[in-house]
Symmetry: C2
Subunit: 433 residues, 2 copies
């Protein structure tokens, strides 16, 4: 067989194998949020910080600093391409054309990601991104994805070619068995939410194509914008904690702080309609959120469950819609926290027919290599790695969530927020990934 | 990425994807037998015939005649290469150099396979190879391999690229689990005997490399000469039924017929020594073979168990060596009929320490796709396909075996042979593959 000498010589020139190759290799909700931030809060100074909750995994001893810098620098060299801008402008998202405004896309085309700050402390990387909210917020997904993938690559580098083949064969076999089980149980509303926690881009791509093939219309789409574009799949996602976290941190009075979580939604519904109206109630506790919510919130399409026990959260949502005089069967409950096959099957059994169901499947969709290692090492098991807003205009940003084990922010601020929002419905849940 | 336009244009020219690409893509024992046949029986006119025992699989409706002819014709275009001849001459087999004589290799270099006869009868291919024994005998493995592979390709052609990936992932995962189990149980003496029944060449290659990686020294080698050459692995195998079948058919008296099975071994030990002295007693029933055997047969290294219940066969062999005053712990029992993981584990438990053990693992080593099909079809399940000597100098060739379900030859001849050899120790066993 003749080699392509030109290709070989060209390939040898690559200094790195880039992990993030497009600004669209991110979650769709980041773009939706970015448009709103760009419109209303473009210049608010914020800081995102990487937090490794799996503290026993000493990332700075696994990942070389030079490698990490090279990958982050590569992201800074990326810009939206013409093809990507035209696709964002012309594609239909959630059944609606023209979701992204031309002036937003024109601005996005000019966006380059700002500098990062990188330090090593106690075996961990301290990685921070500071700047105007609209300019730094995309860093979140790229940073988590890069660190996760570099850590996986370090584990993969210990395997022979044959062992890698066994590893991927096992992981693919396992995912296919999961899809088989979901298809046989008739579960619908499955979506890929794995981007930042995927094994790597190509395995996420495989997982998405496998899900589309095996589940058909029961697979709703992917949160990954690049994959949605490349394969003509629905892009999925709405909004996340950073919106209420920033607006609450910016508030000057207790009253403003308590109402910021609804002000976010009001701004959202001025920009988006229909199926994009899905709220995330758990930033400061879902129970207080629902109790205090203005009635128009109950008109929204549905809610996303993230940090609460999902069975309790589903029951609470159904009771709340009923109490507000809405029919829960027309409402969407989107489960999204650390789901695996058995959770999805059990939630489907518990709620099918009582509300509309969605399952945002992440780590254990496209990064379930547990027990797949041919030499039984655990260095490919998922990490619990996040990149969160930690500062807003010099003030600390806080998230309480429904899980007592999962708040972010300085201890004194967490106490202050807990006093303000209460802790109704909060409970301890172990963190999976 | 730039394409290699020259390679692409060249690739497009291939009319077929050849299944057999080298005369060494055969079982090692065929070459050992061929050297003896070339020396003593080169010109005996024989006929080999393909027999599909899986009569419910109508091969002529699955495989296109043109495809089959193209593959068979391709084999006729093959000749031993210089590199192959030099390797056969210089390599050490079973610890011995120069097993193949220079004049044999010089003759082998000139060998081209003769014509075949192909007809379709009742949905099956009638495929026959007639000519001097030394010229046609290699057809056996190529013919079975080609028909098996074409039948598999027909099944694979129904699958999407993703489904193929799932299929192979599952098959690889399964084989690796089997290897894991064998390694954990400390089983030794495993060898690949899958050539003619492999999924295809590349999967056999994967299986051999995986076994070598996972089992280390517990993997003895492969029967496939091409793979042994390519990867520097031991080539494994000694002799098969065709030798006693031909010599018995050539015999003119009952006495000569009964002794032919030992005359074969006498010719063998004039040519080969040491670890190559492994006999196959079951052509006309193992029990009569052992009872009537000259004492020097008990000096041989061991025996191969093929058609008898392997536990009974092992016990019988041990009793026989003891009765002949030999220590069974120094003797090899090589199991080789339709083995799978559980058989190997059970046989190892039953015989370890009582004799030396070998396991010639075939179909279910490199062709276990049962239940791996993503759409649950069974068109990749193994066939029971053989290519046997059917005629010798105008006389029918007969094999009785220890399995009443497995004789080959015309009914009247089988009756005659049964009268001559008896049926001591024969039993019914279902045919797996």
């Amino acid at each position: 067989m003749m080699l392509n000498l030109a290709s070989r010589a060209y390939d040898r020139r690559w200094r790195i194998d880039p992990i993030v190759r497009s600004l669209l290799d991110t979650d769709f909700y980041k773009l939706l949020m970015l448009q709103m931030i760009w419109k209303h809060h473009a210049d608010v100074p914020v800081t995102f910080s990487l937090i490794n909750r799996s503290t026993d995994v000493r990332l700075a001893e696994i990942i070389e600093r030079r490698e990490l810098e090279a990958q982050l620098d590569h992201v800074r060299s990326l810009a939206l391409t013409n093809q990507e801008r035209i696709w964002l402008a012309g594609n239909t998202f959630y059944g609606t054309e023209g979701i992204f405004q031309p002036d937003f896309l024109a601005w996005l085309k000019t966006l380059r990601l700002p500098e990062y700050e990188l330090r090593i402390l106690d075996g961990q990387y301290e990685l921070r991104f500071s700047g105007p909210w609209s300019q730094v917020m995309l860093w979140e997904i790229y940073a988590v994805t890069i660190v996760n993938t570099l850590r996986n690559r370090a584990g993969l580098a210990r395997l022979s070619e044959l062992e890698l083949d066994v590893l991927y064969s096992r992981a693919k076999t396992r995912l296919w068995e999961k899809l088989d089980r979901l298809a046989e149980a008739g579960v619908t509303g499955i979506a890929d939410f794995s981007t930042r926690r995927r094994g790597d881009f190509l395995f996420q791509e495989w997982a998405v194509l496998a899900a589309q093939d095996r589940l058909g219309a029961a697979f709703n789409g992917t949160s990954n914008v690049s994959l949605a574009q490349k394969h003509g799949i629905e892009a999925i996602g709405t909004n996340a904690h950073e919106l209420p976290m920033v607006l609450t941190a910016l508030a000057d009075t207790d009253e403003e702080m308590r109402s910021a979580q609804y002000r976010v939604l009001d701004q959202w519904q001025q920009m988006y309609q229909g199926r994009l109206l899905v709220f995330l109630p758990d930033t400061y506790g879902s129970t207080q959120f629902l109790e205090e919510a203005p009635d128009w919130v109950a008109d929204w399409t549905g809610l996303r469950v993230d940090s609460k026990d999902p069975f309790e959260a589903g029951e609470e949502a159904i009771r709340w819609w009923q109490a507000r005089g809405r029919d829960p069967r027309e409402k969407l409950v989107l489960f999204s926290d650390a789901l695996d096959l058995d959770d999805i099957l059990a939630l489907d059994r518990a709620f099918r027919g009582r509300c509309r169901l969605g399952f945002g499947w992440g780590t254990l969709f496209a990064n379930d290599f547990r027990g797949c290692h041919p030499r039984h090492r655990d260095d490919l098991n998922p990490l619990s790695l996040v990149c969160k807003i930690t500062e807003v205009r010099g003030r600390p940003a806080v998230k309480l969530s429904d899980n007592i084990a999962k708040p972010t922010g300085p201890e004194t601020e967490i106490t202050r927020y807990r006093r303000l929002f209460g802790d109704a419905g909060a409970a301890f849940r172990p963190i999976v990934a």
